[in-house]
Assembly symmetry: D2
């Protein structure tokens, strides 16, 4: 079968490189172009094939049927419009078009939750890494009306440093990160908070969220630990996920809390849940692990692209 | 001035070795004996001095004025009794005598909160590492009546692997821990939960706690991230700590969330707090960092011993 | 096409698990049994499939056409004999049958150098990880008569900790290995020295070797740095490798020194060479990187098995 | 006793910060100024004291009796001259004034080997980190005439990433360094090679050196592994070091190869040596570990300054 040409804007960052690698290994996609303005002209090896970066201005957007944008937040939106003008579809990995950012009517690609919308979309806003780990974990509880009325959900997440990108910053040097750990964006100030709050609103819940991200001395992975006040006790704490996610190829329901190693380099969300002992009202402790560059970025982007292009949703994705 | 002889039971673990190092560097203490049953007869270098382990049975407990027990949970209690019978005072680093473990009338050595009791005690139960990071951070909010009635406090903590001890276990091998991160003891099942709940009860609050520990790929350090529903809004979110801990040599109040590197090898609790935006009721995000082997174990034990022996509380302790 | 049944003895160690994963992903092999005496009855997930360990005694050796033994040194030899008695071929990953260990007539599976012998062998001794990185890097220099007469080759290697196995040992705990680095087996005392010396002898050279292994705070990978006194100056320092290894699917010749990340999870040897400036006699600095669990163990074992079974040499192997 | 004012030029790098910390903890020195052009005006906490960086142009050089320059290579030389013009003595941590860089008549501060010269010097060139680990380890063999005539010494060193400075560079990001290891400056091309060769020449030996540095995924520390062809066999391989370094406070002679953890945060060189088995001519394997920021930079600089200022050589230095 002929391969479908796709392009990558912003291909030299961690998510961009992961995208290129997934495309190179994809049975039905081929890379039409990969842009990296600062490194234009440079050649890199991805999965054994040589790839030469071009500038975004030089990319022939119309050569691609679909373009992934891994450009920085703020810069991406304009390029998605250019992609559209050139007649190609787009998956935007930046925050520009996500819920809570003032963009209306863009399909939000939490694939397992918005599959049918994604399949028909011209443009998909690919979710943030933290929202992917948290919202996919929480959705079955809301779907089953299990979250207590007026509940405050407390989500603590810890991310590997590839989540902070590969721009050279002193605070991301090995000698600064190793043997360290810290919270950042505290007080609901992280960019992803509004993305999650807007999504929760769209689910018509009055639950509120307190979200605190942390920076881990690991290269990749996100673990989210979430307390959820329940509307009623659950006999089988994993049943909401088993019900809602039955047959999902990229959801794993685990009897014990997941760890980053279990999901590394895989396009999955691994979820567990445990009742909290000794609380007055029933409460659930939900844990959720993803690879931030796979299901948290490039993997989910390809999963969405597969749907948009009418391909097998799992094509080219390591589960 | 003459030095005061002290002993260490269980000196080959991480906390025990840190204790020996602090004692070797202490201006007023000297090591009468250090026990390590499995390694008895072995010689180690601590701060340039050679130290030969004896078995606990062979230690002359009465030679010491005060004995630190870093023996395993369960085994320690009996040895504290033997120490008492030999006429020495004791600081017990195990969980055996801490609140919530069925022992009445033992002074709990959260030094900044129980200083006067510690000074007169014959036996002090040295707090767990997680409780130290959480309870010292929370106390000023309770002291100032700032915690909302019936509040649920959610405490997520992450600890370096020395917290798990140095017994050889497969899951603690470098190749298993590096690039990994996970929650454990989920659902309020960790041993330290009851220690904290019992202490909260003694503070006569009806607040409840959800505690989830995590294992970090770092050698040492604990960071706790705690959401606290407040009874009223705070103009200055750090004022409760400034009021209660003014002049404390081992408490640091930080304008931004603390990190593990900032407290490594130091006997301090570094605390910050930020209001949480966009919640219906006022809520505070409290972060607290300690070195689990120093303020979380050996350092606080020496701080307590200094008080018990009438020495300067800061003697021999790196702040 | 029907799959060929193979077995794995000692499947719970790092090499054994990597073997099982390669077999599960192999287009022509299937796993007949996997043994792990201490964990017999335990079920693990390998590439999404569940696998239950049996004891070696309970394994039906004859059900397999070929058996990989990843049993400990000393214990493996006897089991290779049992495998032979049961009518199956064997690839032995232990040191028992390698050169220098008193076993005559066993084919040594440095695949690129002994391909034709491997193809016809009933039993293959799979090389050690360090010897693989060093001997495959050095062979072209000997083949081209480029090593100075009577030369002393100095090989310094550094290995990730999976090379030390996954038995729980205190010195391999995360808190001991992180931020550390050390030499071991100094003075030509490491087991692999005699394996390499015996192989060099078989190459009929009078060159001698000084080998010093080191332990790295990484999970996987070996980098070897080797100084080689040359018989004559080389105009193109990479030409010996280009000549000897032309077309080899698992050899990479690199213009700059290879790094561990470049070979992680890949069955390759990545080699570079640079003339040493300012020496009286010509000298070459050769660097060589492998993944110790892939080309240094399980990957090369499958490469050898592919040849023994008449399959495509690259089947099931990530290059 | 009054404290002696000293200054630090280039105080925001890793070596500069270590210098400031040593000075803050020094019983006889006090910090007159600390410069950091890019961060001028910024305040940092060093050992609990606040320190505000000034630009080098604004530093009143004459206020100091001695100035440490941790400025970049190339920029330092001019500032040492300015320091001299202002009437202060100088310890230069850059490579500008070291042997092999075209500067004649500057005292090279390998303290244990050049103590009397350092004591009377106005300017001292502080040795590079690699040369410190290698030359202090090798000197006793040359002093005792134990190195074979015309020998080629092969020195492989591995350094933690603080050795590469704290300028933000992509290749030093945590996500690039962790789980990686590589050689660099191969072929005797590293800057420190000529520093070592010039020093060996000054020792009037015809021995030649092949030096290969490597980059380790640790924050600090250097381990050097050196093969030395001997002029004769040694009955006691450690005797040369015991003879030459008897009573040295900062030299440790170890029965087994040293590791980075053993020297972290300490101003020592820890050295071991083992005969190499099975070589035609006698050969010794020497291993040497230092903390690159202490004995490899700031610690040795303070050690030299102590001598220049007539203070106890060990003052303010952790051994």
């Amino acid at each position: 079968m002929d391969k479908i040409p796709v392009g990558v804007l912003g291909a030299s960052g961690y998510a961009g490189r992961e995208l290129c690698a997934l495309i190179e290994g994809h049975p039905r996609l081929e890379l039409a172009f990969a842009t990296a303005n600062e490194q234009r002209g440079a050649t890199v090896r991805i999965r054994g094939r040589e790839l030469t970066y071009v500038s975004s201005e030089d990319a022939r957007l119309g050569d691609a049927e679909l373009v992934f944008s891994a450009l920085p937040h703020g810069a991406s939106k304009e390029w998605v419009e250019r992609v559209r003008s050139a007649g190609a579809r787009a998956v935007d990995l930046s925050a520009d078009l996500r819920p809570g950012n003032g963009c209306e009517g863009i399909v939000y690609g939490l694939t397992e939750l918005t599959r049918s919308l994604v399949a028909g979309a011209e443009v998909v806003a690919n979710p943030g890494c933290y929202p992917t780990s948290i919202l996919i974990a929480l959705a079955p509880l809301f779907a089953s009306n299990l979250v207590a009325d007026g509940a405050t959900l407390v989500a603590n997440s810890a991310s590997g440093v590839t989540g902070a990108g590969n721009s050279p910053k002193r605070e991301l040097l090995f000698a600064e990160i190793s043997e360290d750990y810290r919270a950042y964006g505290v007080g609901n100030e992280h960019r992803h908070t509004k993305e999650m709050r807007a999504t929760l609103e769209s689910w018509q819940t009055n639950a509120e969220l307190v979200f605190t991200p942390h920076l881990l001395p690991v290269a990749r992975g996100i673990l989210s630990t979430i307390t959820v006040p329940l509307s009623r006790k659950l006999d089988d704490p994993l049943s909401p996920w088993r019900d809602v996610y039955a047959g999902e190829p990229f959801i794993e329901i685990a009897p014990t809390p997941p760890s980053l190693r279990e999901v590394a380099h895989r396009n999955v969300v691994r979820i567990s849940a445990t009742p909290v002992a000794n609380t007055r009202a029933p409460m659930l402790l939900v844990t959720s692990a993803i690879d931030n560059l796979m299901k948290g970025a490039a993997g989910q982007a390809v999963q969405n692209a597969n749907l948009m292009l009418g391909l097998d949703e799992t094509a080219g994705l390591p589960a």
